[in-house]
């Protein structure tokens, strides 16, 4: 949250990769005044028990989010395209491994 009174530094979002090969997953947020501090705070706050092999920190205000109130129309284009799913297709009787 942007707040003039707040002297705790900016809010950063933290993403942690728990093992090589897995995607980075949102873990939570924290306050920091610069990127090094954000990374160190993220390590101390979200990986005290070997929860991660890699951390991303991103300033919260750099994240662009779709809006919940628009989500119906925003996601509407994919609603009627059942042919994008494998279950849409009829396989010949007895066909295997497909």
């Amino acid at each position: 949250m942007d707040n003039i009174k707040d002297n705790q530094g900016d809010v950063w979002e933290v993403f942690v990769q728990s093992k090589p090969g897995l995607p980075h997953k949102h873990a939570g947020s924290l306050h920091a005044t610069d990127k090094e501090m954000a990374l160190q705070n993220a390590r101390d706050l979200y990986t005290r028990r070997n929860e991660g092999t890699c951390i991303w920190v991103v300033p919260s205000n750099a994240i662009v989010s779709s809006l919940p109130e628009d989500s119906d129309s925003f996601f509407d284009p994919s609603d009627d395209k059942i042919y994008r799913h494998p279950t849409h297709y009829v396989m010949p009787e007895g066909a295997k491994h497909i």
Partner: protein
């Protein structure tokens, strides 16, 4: 959509177990209820470090000391997770801290009791963290997404807290007669305040209605308290300590323990600020906060300089 329709759509989501997220529409009362509850929870984690911090320098062994330090550090982390969840509702960290320091916001009364002996470190982990766990396990299913996620993270860390406390008190209970007496004394002093952690009886809880309807609270104060009692009685028996309640007895019919009267006068007295350590806890918090002021200022000044350098380059 008008207000009434929004309210109905909101309740329908809650009823369908769909989590509410920060950018979703929510009734002002829901927001306020959460801000109050989450910040009170965050303040409790932070102030809760003080009674345990009291014993870091006097821990009996190096192992005991590193364990206690790790536990206290976790509690600081819990405070951070919770403030962060609270901030998604539109109040800043500074506002939350100011509300604590000006006594507009509360923290759990249990932390206004002193920790007099090393056995108290056992009783705190076993009973206070134990009670907190019962509450927090239930809150993992709370309706507000960021709060629920913070609870999942916290619950993963809490079981170590309770186990280390139980280990301490079990160890003392099988020590010398003096050590066992110390363990019993810690249980005697902290048992009733631990039961009070769940708050007033359901019949006397004005906030319960909305909290339950909006699924902020998934179980009532009395339900949670009963769960805690039911699982703790046996743990006391195992280590040969006696729960200080002559009315405590198994009720075959209900399948729960019956327990004696809680002294609510004591509870309200501590809530109102007259517990043994209220003043000390708040003063210490202010002192620590003010002592850290130059660090925050220096960090901000450094960040500002870095930004300016970048602009020039």
């Amino acid at each position: 959509m008008d207000e009434q329709q929004k309210l109905e759509a909101f309740q329908a989501k809650i009823d369908a177990e769909i989590k509410i997220e920060p950018k979703d529409w929510m009734p002002e009362e829901y927001r306020k209820h959460l801000q109050r509850q989450i910040s009170q929870h965050a303040h409790s984690e932070v102030v809760g470090m003080q009674p345990e911090g009291n014993w870091v320098l006097r821990a009996p062994t190096l192992r005991a000391k590193v364990v206690l330090l790790a536990k206290i550090q976790d509690e600081a982390g819990h405070g951070q997770y919770l403030y962060a969840a609270g901030e998604t509702l539109g109040k800043s960290r500074d506002e939350f801290i100011e509300e604590l320091q000006t006594e507009k916001a509360k923290y759990s009364s249990i932390f206004n009791y002193p920790t007099l002996t090393w056995a108290d470190m056992g009783a705190v982990g076993w009973l206070v963290d134990g009670a907190a766990i019962v509450n927090q396990v239930s809150l993992q299913r709370t309706s507000y997404g960021p709060y629920a996620r913070a609870m999942v993270r916290i619950c993963k860390e809490e079981s170590f807290h309770q186990r280390q406390g139980y280990e301490i008190i079990a160890h003392m209970a099988k020590g010398t007669p003096e050590q066992k007496a110390m363990a019993q004394d810690a249980l005697n002093r902290l048992w009733w305040p631990s039961l009070m952690m769940f708050g007033p009886h359901d019949a006397d809880s004005p906030n319960l209605g909305n909290g339950v309807k909006w699924k902020i609270k998934r179980e009532t104060n009395d339900e949670l308290r009963q769960k805690f009692i039911d699982k703790t009685v046996h743990q006391a028996e195992v280590i040969g300590l006696t729960i200080p309640d002559p009315d405590l007895k198994w009720n075959e019919e209900t399948g729960h323990y019956d327990y004696g009267q809680i002294d609510w006068d004591e509870f309200w007295n501590v809530v109102k600020g007259n517990g043994p350590c209220n003043k000390q806890r708040l003063e210490h918090h202010k002192r620590a906060h003010n002592n850290g002021k130059w660090v925050r200022e220096a960090a901000l000044a450094y960040a500002q300089k870095q930004k300016e350098k970048q602009m020039v380059a």
